[in-house]
Every structure is written in structure tokens, then in C-alpha cells.
Amino acid sequence: MKEKSILLDHGSGGKLSHQLIAGTMLPAFDNSILSPLDDGAIFEMVGNRMAFSTDTYVVDPIFFPGGCIGDLAINGTVNDIAMCGATPFYLSVGLIIEEGFSIGELELILNEMKKAAQAARVQVVTGDTKVVPRGVADKIFINTSGIGVIIDGLTVSGSAAQPGDKVIVSGTIADHGMTILSQREGISFESNLLSDTAPLTHMVEQMASISKNIHVLRDPTRGGLATALNEIALSSHVGILMFEENIPIRPEVGGMCELLGFDPLYVANEGKLVAVVPSKDADSVLNAMVENPYGRDAKMIGEVVTGPPGQVFMQTRIGGTRIVDMLAGEQLPRIC
């Protein structure tokens, strides 16, 4: 059934987002660089292999435990470029600000952006600001684009997973989504949760220094770990088997998910990556990740199998098996 108007689900990162991109965006722009639909575009330019990515941030609330819309916007695009196997260098920042927004808050956001850019060793080299009448936008929306250079010898793609590969996640899942949720009006949940927003570029460089055979890198943002793995399984025409007991999750996050009826596999992360690595290199890559401050809780969570292609399965703690599908509806709008 084709929808007549845009629903929040179209922005979920799940199935409807994919339908919107495949049915509406790809026909308009289709080309060989865009069509793999990885986290960023990879192309040759004057002898260098480059990565280019863009993302827009509409998170609500704009300040949340562990971060704000500013560092989220820097880290998000930095990570999208890192997921191409690239080192990010330059970013653009576009601001859409609602009339009446506090300049003090804007300065706070810009300061967090500055700190995040320094931490990720990127420079903001161009920008744009638009102000819209009150009510036309909600406080502030930020677009960032970024460009980077592919790390020498590394070729990662969502379509490169091979049977026998191991699947590694860099730390506890669902922290960002549940933190945002705990701050929402209408939910009033007191917790000590923190968003995991963080730059992953150094971790990727450390991983690449250990192994140039990494097949896939992906940051499981909207749609969560389950959706990221489904995308990989679909693009690579393989199956993925996960082991429930290996999936790292903070007890307080798991508890909150249970209480509110969320499946943590579908909840957004903003400082985590999934790596698909050949079995022979998996242990050393995992060790390199654990050395990084943002990878301390990294775990091997599954393996790539021949099939059925495009499907993700999970062996449950008690030994049963179930399918882990892509996110079908919106779990929570304006998560990033």
C-alpha cells in the first residue's frame, strides 16, 4: 500500500525509510556511487579514494544527558565517514534556527561542536545559517556534511560480508535511544542513562592498522543493531546468526526497554559500530577495539552464514532460535 503523505515511520531508518529511498529518491538521483546506499559515498578524485557523507539532526530535546544536538551532529557525520573506512578531514555545518531561539543556547551548542570536532580531528570549513519564523522549525536543526580519505588498503562495503566472517559490536547497545526517551515529555522517567554519542574515527584507524581485511563497518543508529545487520545481510546476500547472550547491554538500559516494551536491538546508538571481519582476524580486531576508550565493551556477537540470504537470526539465551527482522515502524521520532 503506497502512502499518500509522509508518516513519521518514513524517518525511522527502518522498512518505510528504505521504501521511500528506493521508490522516491533513487529514481531521482540514481548513479553508481549512490546506489550501494552505504553510510557514505565512496569515489575516486584526483588519485585519491574519497568518502563523502551528509546527515541532518533534529533530535528532541536538543540537550540530553551525555551530549547535545551539536556534538551529535559532528560525531554522526564523522562516524558515517569512518564507516566508509575513511579518515574524515573537513565538515560543513548548516543551521536552521527558529526565530526567538536563545543565543546563549546556540553558543553552548557551537562550543560542543567545537570540542567534538577537535576530538575527532576534523575542521568545520564551510557553513550556512537560516532563520525561520517561530513555529516553522522546532528550536534548531543542524545539517553536517563531511569529506574524508579512505584509509590506504581498506575496502569496506555493506555488500562485502562473507560466510564465515565474525560480527563484532563495539559496545553496549541502545544507550542513546533510551536516554533520549527518558528525557521526553510525556514519559517522565528518572534515570542515570547517558547517550553514547562519540567519534569512532580513531577506533576505525586502530582496527585498520591491525587488519586491512575488514569487510563491513556500519554504525547502528536509527533502527538499531537489528536494522544494521539486516541491511548488511540483504546487501551481501548472506545470513547472519547472532548470539543473544553475547550482546552487550547495560542492565539499566535493558530494564528500561523491558518496562517500556522496547526491543533494544532496534533502539538507536550514536557511538557504536558493527564490524564484519574474516574469522582469522576477528580476535586481533576485537582486541584493538577493546583498547579504545569507546570500544571497551566490544564483543563478538555473531557470525555470517550462507543463508537464507538476507535474513538475520538469533540464538536465544535458552537455546531457541528466532528471526530478527528489520525495524518495521517508528520506535521513536527525532532520536538524532
Binding site: S5, L7, Q19, E185, S188, Q311, Q315, R317, G320, R322
Partner: protein, 360 residues
């Protein structure tokens, strides 16, 4: 969570599974009538672990799924009234009414907000004194007391812009209706743990006395569910049906008296209509006259007619355990969680959605 870990311990679940395998000889069909059981069974992959002799059926236990089409259409009609804010649990958003859904109404500009508790709805009412906030009260005995409490709170606070549409349903009368249906073929009932926390084990006694069918109150962790299955299998193999409580850490024989009193104070029992099951005597809760100022059905003049369930949708047959979701002609072909035809494909606790998501 730490406490729950014991009930997810693979050693314990394997021991119970082994006992089930040894005990189970006859072919039996066991029904759970609680969406949380359905979810736990799927999420833990319990079906594949049980011997082939045991079939688990998912009954009418998902609050969204049993809400009648007329009620869904009434919710949508409420959202179209000027100055009304709808506060609802998220599951209702995507349920197709006759022609539209709350989600589509929201995209068209209606003020519809997802909340996680009635007190969040009360807060919205408090912060928006010039608007009328309607909370959509669906669910069973588990959620109804909190809705009753919200009405008493609103009364105490002097809030005159908070309303409830009560579409609450009761579990024991539904069990009578299921067993009274000749086509239904069930050998034992896994009774809902959360509901039973409120109503107590003895609330099922009249049902058990009439039908003499294994009836076990069960918790939600894998070990709880497997233990409940074991008790039912044991009863069936020994031909000694009983009403048992396998969730003693939470459920007592009389339930939560305070919550039950709340229900009595605010609601009265009436003959509610259930999707798939039709009208069931004494199976719903409506707001008492003394609280009619908070009753959305009385305050707003709704004129909903022409409600009809989606053509070809077999949600009703799924809810009664006549068929499993893959036997529905629409399943996966035109009905999926992205574009659901019936409510069982919408709700996170819906049987069709659970099959689709976890079973393939």
C-alpha cells in the same frame, strides 16, 4: 533485572524442558491469552524447543488486537474534534480504522501524543488548560486500575480538561466465551501473569469449575513459561486438570485488593464487543455515572457508523486459535507490519506481528 536473570538461566530451562519431553505423550493445544506471553514465547524461541506433541496457540491477549473496529473508529473521530489532544499508548497509532488510522490523522495535523502512563496524559492536560485531553483507555485488568487512578487524580486536582475513553476488557469472561465456542479446540490455558497480579487466582475459579480444563497462571520469563507448560502437560497426562499458580512470586489468590477496589469505584461492568469474538457478557469496563464528567463517551457527541472490519482479514480466527497467522490469505502478501491490514499485525504484542517478526 538481576532477579529476572534466574528465570533465564539456560541450566534451569533445560532441566524443565527435559521434564516436559519426558512427560509429554498426547498431542495437546495450549493457549496463552496474554500478549506478553506471546512475545516472550517468540523472543526466546520457545516453540522450537518444545516437543512436536505440544502446540502453542496465541489467543485474544493483545489489548490492541481485541479492540473493536467501532472503538478504533471512535478514537479516530475523537482526534478530529477541534481542540482535542489524544493521549494514547503507541500501539494504537498504526491500527487501521475504517479508512484511516491515528498515525495518518497525526500526519494530517491532528494532535495525537504517545504516552507511557496515564500520569503523563494528566500532565499534558495540566499544561494545556485550553485543550481537551482524551486518554484512550484500552487493555485488561492490568492497565485499568492506573486509568481509574488517573480519573480520581484529575478529580482531586480539579482538572476539567482530562477525559478517558474506556474500552477496557476483562479476561475471565473472555475465557468463558472462548470455551463456549464449539469450534475452539484448546486443551489448556496459560493464564496471564500481569492480569492475575490484580485479580488473583481465585478470579478464574468459576471458569475452571465450569470447564474443568488445565488452567495455570504463568509468569513471563522463559523458565516461568516452560514451568507453566510442564504443569499443564503433567495435568493432561495424568488427567487431573487443576487451577494452579505457577507465578507465586507475584500473584496471590485474591490479587491486589487496592487495585480491585479502584476498579470497582470508577468502573462498572458491561457487555463489551471484542474483535473476532463479538459481544461478551460482562466483559468490559465503563466509567460510572458519578465520574461522567471525565467520560469521553458522554462528554463528546460521537456519531460513528459504518465501521467494518477489513475485508479478508482473519484476525478474528487467529485470536480464537482457529488458524495460525500464515494460514491467513493476506499474511505477508498484503498484510505486513509496514502496511498492516488488521490489528494483529500492528501491535508489538499481536500474534501476526510476532509471527512475522520472529518466525519468518
Amino acid at each position: 533485572m538481576k532477579h529476572a536473570g534466574e528465570y533465564r538461566n539456560p541450566e534451569i530451562t533445560h532441566t524443565i524442558l527435559e521434564k516436559i519431553r519426558q512427560a509429554s505423550k498426547k498431542e495437546v493445544r495450549l493457549m496463552e491469552v496474554c500478549g506478553s506471553h506471546t512475545m516472550s514465547i517468540f523472543r526466546n524461541g520457545i516453540r522450537q524447543l518444545l516437543p512436536d506433541t505440544i502446540t502453542l496457540l496465541s489467543g485474544p491477549g493483545c489489548p490492541v488486537c481485541v479492540t473493536s473496529q467501532w472503538e478504533i473508529d471512535s478514537f479516530i473521530a475523537l482526534s478530529q474534534i477541534e481542540n482535542v489532544i489524544i493521549a494514547t499508548f503507541g500501539d494504537l497509532m498504526r491500527v487501521p480504522g475504517t479508512g484511516t488510522s491515528l498515525q495518518k490523522q497525526k500526519a494530517d495535523g491532528r494532535d495525537i501524543r504517545v504516552v507511557y502512563s496515564t500520569f503523563d496524559a494528566i500532565n499534558i492536560a495540566r499544561k494545556n488548560p485550553d485543550k481537551k485531553v482524551v486518554f484512550l483507555g484500552i487493555g485488561f485488568e492490568t492497565t485499568a486500575p492506573t486509568v481509574a487512578a488517573s480519573i480520581l487524580t484529575a478529580q482531586k486536582m480539579g482538572l476539567d480538561n482530562y477525559f478517558v475513553y474506556s474500552a477496557h476488557k476483562l479476561v475471565p469472561p473472555m475465557l468463558f466465551a472462548l470455551m463456549g465456542d464449539d469450534k475452539v479446540c484448546i486443551d489448556g490455558f496459560m493464564l496471564p501473569g500481569h492480569v492475575s497480579v490484580i485479580i488473583g487466582v481465585e478470579a478464574y475459579r468459576p471458569f475452571f469449575n465450569q470447564f474443568c480444563i488445565p488452567s495455570v497462571v504463568v509468569g513471563f520469563e522463559p523458565a516461568d513459561i516452560l514451568y507453566g507448560v510442564f504443569l499443564m502437560i503433567d495435568q493432561l497426562e495424568k488427567n487431573r486438570p487443576q487451577l494452579e499458580n505457577a507465578y507465586r512470586r507475584a500473584v496471590t489468590s485474591q490479587g491486589n485488593l487496592k487495585a480491585r477496589n479502584l476498579l470497582d469505584k470508577v468502573f462498572y461492568v458491561w457487555d463489551a464487543s471484542w474483535r473476532g469474538l463479538g459481544k461478551i457478557s460482562g466483559s468490559g469496563l465503563k466509567i460510572r455515572n458519578e465520574f461522567s464528567a471525565f467520560d469521553a463517551q458522554k462528554v463528546f457527541s460521537l456519531n460513528v457508523s459504518g465501521s467494518k472490519e477489513p475485508e479478508g482479514c482473519a484476525c478474528g480466527d487467529v485470536l480464537r486459535g482457529y488458524i495460525a497467522p500464515p494460514e491467513c490469505v493476506l499474511y505477508k502478501k498484503v498484510c505486513s507490519p509496514v502496511s498492516p491490514v488488521g490489528p494483529c499485525m500492528v501491535s508489538g504484542e499481536g500474534t501476526c506481528a510476532a509471527y512475522y517478526r520472529y518466525h519468518g
